[in-house]
Symmetry: C2
Subunit: 247 residues, 2 copies
DNA sequence: CAGTGGGCTCGAACACTGTGCGAGTCACTT
DNA sequence: AAGTGACTCGCACAGTGTTCGAGCCCACTG
């Protein structure tokens, strides 16, 4: 049984002296490229080796595991998220910027989503991000467990929204068809089952949601949710902290 | 390239006449048991066949793919979620019950989480759930795109919260150690890196979160977030619908 | 009652996966 | 010149999802 703290981040790095042809950074970068291009299923150690012009097993000198490699890749792309410094803007804006950035990152690297539920990441980039988030929320007046809850709430919204969006995007891409074609194909299925799900069918028709641009709907849905969350947090903040002037 | 609608749910079921020793329901049930017991990595067609006392390839008569099987399993467990009828309770309570139920399901079957981002499910149980959610939110006064946004917001919170909770739970389970032991192990790592993440380290110490029961913290965090979301929605509802009396 | 077709099971095989092991290469120190 | 250690890599092993074709057995038709 491995110790809890036995992960890429706690194991000492190998000393580097020679002029190796491969490096951990290079491997991680190539892995991310492969994952972006072909999804989680597209990454195999052999294919990654080939892409780097070296044998598959050479990678194991620089990386203990495929799991470790994935953890490194996740932390790497987490570093792409920009978390504003506290004080630059009102806290709502700061949080929104972070949330939007995180969402964009997850949609750029959809393979990350499937890994988030498998194992928590405590790499340097994630830690740095966490530290800046804490600073941001401290400046907003949140403290103690509430600060943690607020942070969880924001990230949960981003992860949850990105999850379903990515799922649909993947299905659409697999189908290789336009949104209009898919809507057309889906129609008979919807009509056939409309009797079984009357409320859903009626709402679907009346809402006019079928005639909107899907990408816009995703954006609006995410923004709507985030605004409601921030409203709810503001309300709580006023009632429990009472300082409405914090940046 | 497969059509978008080419999935388990749209393909006609095979006619069944003989007295087969295997059935699709039985296979799905066994798969879920295996997944619950050993996680996503524990399910292979050969192991599943062995568990059912039959050859691995026999399964392919009842199920086209491993992917299809997983989709069936996901829809199956989705059916475990209880969505209250509209009118039974105030809408906040109804939504809370659904959210709590969904969270509990995801934590019972953590393997589902990793599949949610891969492909959207449109199985009968998910559709039924969707229909009841629509009914619930219609009764609360939400209509049009806003209804969809509200539904997305709730499920996103559940999925996002369950994702990070499941990740930590999996790591703890892999370590096979108590929360106290893990905390002890983590301490030196935290102290060593405290200088790099000063805000985080300071908050961690002052907040006292390290001395709380982790399970309770998860529960509280989820409930806190849900309350803030419902507050935000209530606010929006009053401003945009104006009817505060809807059940 | 014989025969045939189709629902259903399954073993062999293929192409692939992650990874342990040991041999080999090279730059550098002693 | 010998050796040491960083690094690369081919082979092999156990395991994966899935295809194919052979075979079973039951319900039907002639």
């Amino acid at each position: 049984m491995p110790e809890f703290t036995d992960s890429v981040w706690t194991r000492p790095a190998r000393p580097r002296t020679g002029q190796p042809t491969l490096s951990r950074e290079q491997i991680v970068r190539a892995a991310i490229e492969l994952l972006d291009a072909e999804g989680a299923a597209g990454l195999s150690m052999r294919r990654l080796g080939a892409r780097l012009g070296s044998g598959a097993t050479s990678l194991y000198w620089h990386v203990a595991n495929k799991d470790d490699l994935l953890e490194l890749a996740v932390d790497q792309v987490m570093g792409e998220i920009y978390v504003p410094e506290p004080g630059d803007t009102p806290w709502r804006v700061g949080v929104s910027v972070m949330a939007d950035g995180m969402r964009a990152m997850l949609l750029r690297h959809t393979w990350v989503i499937g890994l988030l539920g498998v194992r928590p990441t405590i790499g340097p980039n994630v830690m740095r991000m966490g530290n800046r988030s804490v600073a941001l929320l401290l400046a907003a007046g949140f403290t103690g467990p509430a600060l943690s809850h607020v942070h969880s709430l924001i990230t949960a919204h981003v992860i949850g929204a990105a999850t379903t969006e990515a799922a649909v995007a993947a299905a659409v891409q697999r189908a290789g068809q336009s949104a209009a074609e898919i809507r057309e194909q889906l129609e008979p299925f919807m009509e056939k089952t409309a009797g079984d799900y009357p409320d859903y069918a009626r709402w679907r028709q009346e809402s006019g949601v079928t005639e909107m641009d899907p990408d816009q709907v995703w954006d609006q849905s995410f923004a709507f949710g985030l605004e409601r969350i921030l409203d709810g947090l503001e309300l709580w903040r006023v009632n429990n902290i009472g300082d409405t002037s914090a940046a």
